[in-house]
Symmetry: C2
Subunit: 144 residues, 2 copies
């Protein structure tokens, strides 16, 4: 099990919109950078648009950032591309036996624990911004 690559592709798209902000970032152009097809890029870009992260309009070529670089956290991207339904990172088996002490209480006991772990993950994603990612990309590029 892995969290969908939509997340990393979303980060890729937003970084590219910044680094290539002088150019026109069509779905076709972005797809070539990501190495996938334009339809998938449009789908993800649509999700980022719904989350208020990018501007993109039917018929008009190119997407642009809708927020400051430093104001877009990876958590926002994570949630935007909908890779994990809210509070459902961990799957919990359904319908345990109510006639059993464990079965009767396992779900209520585990849920808050899973929730804490999930929040820890989200917190870690929440402190990193696309600006950080763009900086990392540019720095790495210099050293090569």
């Amino acid at each position: 099990m892995s969290i969908s690559t939509r997340f990393s592709v979303g980060i890729h798209i937003l970084s590219l919109l910044e680094i290539n902000k002088e150019g026109v970032n069509t779905s076709d152009f972005i797809a070539k950078s990501v190495n996938t097809n334009p339809a998938l890029i449009r789908k993800i870009t649509g999700m980022l648009k719904n989350a208020g992260l990018v501007n993109v309009r039917p018929g008009i070529a190119g997407a642009t950032l809708a927020k400051e670089l430093s104001d877009i956290t990876l958590l926002e991207v994570y949630q935007a591309v909908n890779v994990v339904s809210d509070k459902e990172l961990f799957g919990i088996h359904e319908n345990p036996n109510p006639a059993c002490t464990v079965g009767r209480n396992i779900q209520d006991t585990i849920e808050p624990i899973f929730s804490v772990a999930e929040l820890a993950l989200e917190k870690a994603l929440g402190v990193v911004t696309i600006e950080d990612v763009v900086r990392g990309i540019l720095e790495k590029d210099k050293t090569n």
Copy 2:
């Protein structure tokens, strides 16, 4: 996307082994508590055995805990049932375009960030033990 219920079932099994330690915990008995089938329980129990968490032998009815309750963290269970390959909680799109600044550096930039987030998740799971879960189950059961 959700992390496989094997994880929560694994926790269920271990908790049951403790709470029903006076009885004989066959795969059939456990399956009735979890509300699934015995074959799946045997599969997961086998994983827990490989991780050194339970004792179970062919032909001999019942599984037992192989470690102290307080010495089994949820992280161990998480890793035992193999729900997430090592360092691969987040999927990263393959083969981005090396002719593009972003494509050339995105993977190396993102990986350490994802790694930090994944470790935060694991850390949260590492501080909770099966003993805590069992205590939670018993406490919840009293209040109902």
